[in-house]
Symmetry: C2
Subunit: 223 residues, 2 copies
C-alpha cells in the first residue's frame, strides 16, 4: 500500500478579533454578566440541553439566550416559549460569530442585569472554534451518535472549550462509543477540559451540570 | 410573549469561484471523470458509506477518493486500506473546499482515467454548500440521530444537493425522526432532490444506491 499523499491547501487569515473579544469580556465582567458560548455539530442537542438546564436551574439564575441560526427562528421560539428571554441572530449564511457580532446580539437582547447569557452558536464544529466571541466559558456538546472520534478529527473545538458535554447518553447501547477513547483524545488536546455526561431527553446528569453552571456563573460574577 | 427580535448580521462576500468551478467541471467532463462532492455534518457516516458503496460497486467503477480533513488522516487511511486510491487534503483549518482547492487535490491524485472521483468534503453543513467545487453531482448525508429538522435549519445544503442519503436508518426505532416531515422540508427547498435511505452499518439500501451511482456516472461520462 502506498503512503497517503498529504497536500497542504492554503487558507486566508483575518483581523484583530482577539482584542475585540477581550474588550467585550471585560465589559461583561464589569456589569456582572457571564457569557457562555455553546458550540456543537448540527443536531447534537444544543437547544434541548438549554431547555433541560432551564428546568434544572429552577430560577436560580437570571439568564437569557441568543440563538444564532442561518435563517430559521425555530430554536429561539422554543426557548422563548419556555420563558427564557431570547433573541434570534441571523447570520445570513455566515458560519460562525465573532466578538463584534456577539456584541450586536447582546445589545439587541438588552438585559444588562442578566447573570448568564448563552450564545447558541451556529451548528458547526469547525469555524466557531476559530473565533473568540468574548465568552467567559466555552462549551461544546458532543452527542453519542456522532462518534467517539470527534475530538481527534476536530481538535481545535476541543482545545478551545472549557466544558465538554456528552449528550444523548441514553443511546449508548445502540452505538459503538468508547468514552475512554473519546476522553483521552480530548484531554490530549486540552488537559483541563471538564467532561459531563447527560441525556437532555431523559434528564440524566442534567441536574449535576446545572449545579456546576450556577456555581461557575456566580463565581465569575463575584470575582 | 413578545415577538422574537431578528437581527441581521453582516457577512463578507467573495471572488469568482463559480467560473473556476465550471471550468473544472468542463475539464473533467472532457476526460470522462465524474466528480461527486460528498457533504454532511461531522459523524453522519461519510467514510462508512463510501466503504459500503465500494463493496456494492463490486469493481464496476474505476474510482478514487479525496479526503478533506482539518488535520487528521484517519479516513484516508481507512479508504486506502479498502483498496480505493485515496489522497488526503489538509485544509489547515479551512471549513470548506472551493474549486481551486479541489483541482489541487485532483492533480495530486493523478488518476486521469478515473470514472468517478469522490471529494469527501469537510464535516460541516454550512460552508461547503456555499462553494461550487466543480462537481457533477452534489450529495449530502443526513443521519437519523441528527434529526428530521436539518433541511429546515440548513436549507442551502439541501438546495444545492442532487442526492440526499439518509443514513443510520437502523436507529429509526430509537429516535423521533419523521421521514415525511424531513422530505417535505427538503423538497420545499429543492423539488428535484433524490432521497435514498440506507444503513451503511447493516448494508440496508446500499446496493440500490450503488446501482444508481454507477448508472449516473456512466451516463455523465458518456454524454
Amino acid at each position: 500500500m502506498d503512503e497517503i499523499k498529504i497536500i497542504a491547501l492554503k487558507e486566508s487569515v483575518l483581523e484583530d478579533n482577539d482584542r475585540d473579544a477581550q474588550a467585550l469580556r471585560d465589559e461583561l465582567k464589569a456589569q456582572g454578566t457571564c457569557l457562555l458560548n455553546l458550540m456543537s455539530s448540527p443536531g447534537s442537542g444544543k437547544t434541548t440541553t438549554l431547555l433541560a438546564l432551564n428546568r434544572a436551574f429552577g430560577g436560580r439564575l437570571r439568564w437569557a439566550v441568543m440563538e444564532a441560526d442561518i435563517d430559521s427562528a425555530v430554536d429561539a421560539r422554543t426557548m422563548q416559549e419556555a420563558g427564557v428571554p431570547t433573541v434570534q441572530l441571523h447570520t445570513g449564511g455566515m458560519c460562525h460569530l465573532d466578538a463584534d457580532m456577539t456584541r450586536q446580539g447582546i445589545r439587541a437582547l438588552n438585559i444588562p442585569n442578566a447573570e448568564l447569557i448563552v450564545l447558541e452558536n451556529i451548528g458547526n464544529l469547525v469555524c466557531p472554534a476559530e473565533f473568540d466571541t468574548g465568552a467567559a466559558i466555552n462549551m461544546t456538546i458532543l452527542s453519542v451518535p456522532e462518534g467517539d472520534d470527534k475530538p481527534a478529527k476536530y481538535p481545535l473545538m476541543y482545545e478551545k472549550c472549557d466544558m465538554l458535554v456528552v449528550n444523548k447518553i441514553d443511546t449508548l447501547p445502540v452505538f459503538d462509543f468508547d468514552k475512554e477513547r473519546m476522553e483521552q483524545a480530548a484531554r490530549t488536546r486540552n488537559p483541563n477540559i471538564e467532561v459531563y455526561y447527560i441525556s437532555a431527553k431523559t434528564g440524566e446528569g442534567v441536574q449535576a451540570l446545572a449545579d456546576v453552571l450556577v456555581r461557575k456563573v456566580k463565581e465569575w460574577n463575584a470575582k
